[in-house]
Subunit: 341 residues, 2 copies
DNA sequence: CTGAAAGCGCTAACAA
DNA sequence: TTGTTAGCGCTTTCAG
């Protein structure tokens, strides 16, 4: 394992010169640079990450904090992770997976104080999140994926729910649908003020008004059974219903199953749009779900980019970046059936 | 940020004493240990990871090498990752995600030479995998998740495909099924010698013989369409077919859809067992899939455990650990219909 | 444009 | 049972 001293000797220069060609922190004549580079190549030299980290006070590693529940990660979260990983790698950083949820304060305190990580990406952010207070107190650079209650002074990247709901409703309206249900997350989520649930609810109302159509919001559990119950409820209170927008993938599948069993054809009788859904899941359904595809990898990449900017000394001013989900029309939406009048 | 020197001063001991209470490398009297611990607590001391790594020549970080294709990770791979992460954390190690596939030699060469990682976990191992040769050459400790062509001298953890196929077939047989199809990975996979495809094929034949029943293997694409085609082909060549074992989740869903459209009831007319399937996906289907649930987290944890043992100086002898998938009976298997005779 | 040398914070001989 | 000290391999002043 060649060290910097070996390289210096072989190139006939001092260690500091080798260091400078590596970091580019000061001008080096073309001639010596080439000798040094050659020596490195001949010795298969790679700088020792630990020594470098110790001397420079930075590890070039960022931590991805996410709670690792037994249930594992969904497709969207996985895309965050891969997007962030690749963005980090492209910038010469590494990404460490840290199973630290909203409540694991001590774990994080230790992690952040060990100086192993230059900054943090927080996933599964909750409205009040201990990790946020803690990192702020420790003055550690970090970026949220999602949003907390009060985000002043914080940097965050999130899905643009307002835009996404607007686009979904516009799609249904353009197909002639005039009565739409929005199957949201559960009542409990809404009551607890869960961001996506609240924001999509508001956006749904705005969209209805803008298009001058009618609709209902039905909260339900994020399960297939929840979807079934929700669609029954929605059809009961709005028999004219021809379009459904649904927040959760499992609920979406439940809705398809329930409609099928009720003898209704999708999309002939009812059109269904699934929100924040990944392509693989959308394609598992039959017919494949028309969906608003979550910009998973893009979110992860954006968060990483912002974090790295801040590591470069950027100030800690408020910053928000919202990415909309893209409409992907598959098999569950079609022209609205003309109602009898 | 308190350093070890600060702690030593405050406790009235030398730095080495502090170091030794931290590492436990040599006996310390209870009295001084307590003073040191107290000093640490008062100063919120956390050892600097980089300094520690430099001095001890180990980072306490292991790398998880996996190709990050655009498609993202499936549920099974995600479970590997979370299982490995938690096992590492429990042992005081961290886990770094490294997007390095079977062919990215140089990337890995650099990574391994930087001394940032103590060892490696390889996912998505291919029959011939450049990463394996390279790590072996560099004498870096590593464990495979999956198997290569020749695994002598290597440590690996894998799903026990033989056992899993055997169990699946036994389940169908116990329900009275006597003609079974096995819908495998694609012809291309088989031709390329892809391990799971080959091993399950062999195991299927063995199981048929053992139970004295008949069956066919149909290779197909890992897609819903592939599943549809496969089940059509199977029923054509074996009209007596009442049981299906299928390797891929998407194909399994395709099979269910195709059978439904053909007017056949599952499990009344045909029973379906899906292999190496995660619970969430199994439950998306309707009826929910009876499946052999992949031991994802257990595989990740086992691989980590073995790697950490080897870091502790354990020799590099061949080691293989195979974990079977567990049968979870859901809604797609039932008693075989009696055939007309 | 280049070199010498002082650390970075810790571990692990060696010495007592 | 404890202290002293020489590095680990690199970055970065300070000099030239």
């Amino acid at each position: 394992m060649a060290t910097m001293t070996d390289v210096a000797k072989r190139a006939g220069v001092s260690v500091s010169t080798v260091s400078y060609v590596l970091t580019g922190t000061r001008p080096i004549s073309e001639a010596t640079r080439e000798r040094v580079l050659a020596a490195m190549a001949e010795l298969d030299y790679q700088p020792n990450a630990m020594a470098r980290g110790l001397a420079s006070r930075q590890s070039n590693i960022v931590g991805l904090l996410l709670p690792l529940t037994g249930r594992g990660l969904g497709a969207t979260e996985t895309a965050f992770v891969t997007g962030a990983t690749e963005a980090a790698r492209a910038a010469g950083y590494h990404l460490m997976l840290c199973p630290v949820g909203a409540d694991d304060g001590d774990e994080l305190q230790a992690l952040a104080t060990q100086r192993l990580l230059d900054g943090f990406l927080l996933m599964e952010v909750r409205l009040t999140d201990r990790r946020v207070e803690l990192l702020r107190k420790l003055q550690a650079p970090f970026v949220l994926i999602g949003r907390t209650k009060n985000s002043t002074g914080l940097a965050c990247v999130d899905i643009d729910f307002e835009q996404t709901v607007g686009d979904a409703v516009a799609h249904l309206v353009s197909l002639g649908h005039e009565t739409i249900a929005y199957v949201n997350h559960s009542k409990a989520s809404l009551a607890s003020g869960y961001g996506p649930a609240k924001r999509t609810e508001a956006a749904f109302k705005v969209a209805l008004k803008r298009h001058g159509i009618t609709g209902v919001m039905v909260p339900t559990d994020d399960t297939a059974a929840g979807g079934r119950a929700a669609i029954r409820e929605a059809r009961e209170c709005c028999p004219a219903l021809t379009g459904v927008l649904v927040m959760n993938e499992s609920a979406a599948l439940g809705i398809l199953a329930e409609l099928r069993e009720a003898g209704l054809d999708v999309p002939w009788d009812v059109s269904v749009v699934s929100m924040v859904t990944s392509a693989p899941v959308a394609e598992l359904a039959s017919p494949p779900l028309t969906a608003m595809t979550s910009p998973g990898a893009a979110v992860g990449a954006a968060a990483t980019r912002i974090l790295l900017e801040r590591l470069g000394g950027g100030a800690g001013s408020t910053y928000e970046e919202l990415l909309p989900c893209a409409l992907e029309v598959r098999g569950t939406t079609g022209a609205a059936k003309k109602r009898k009048r």
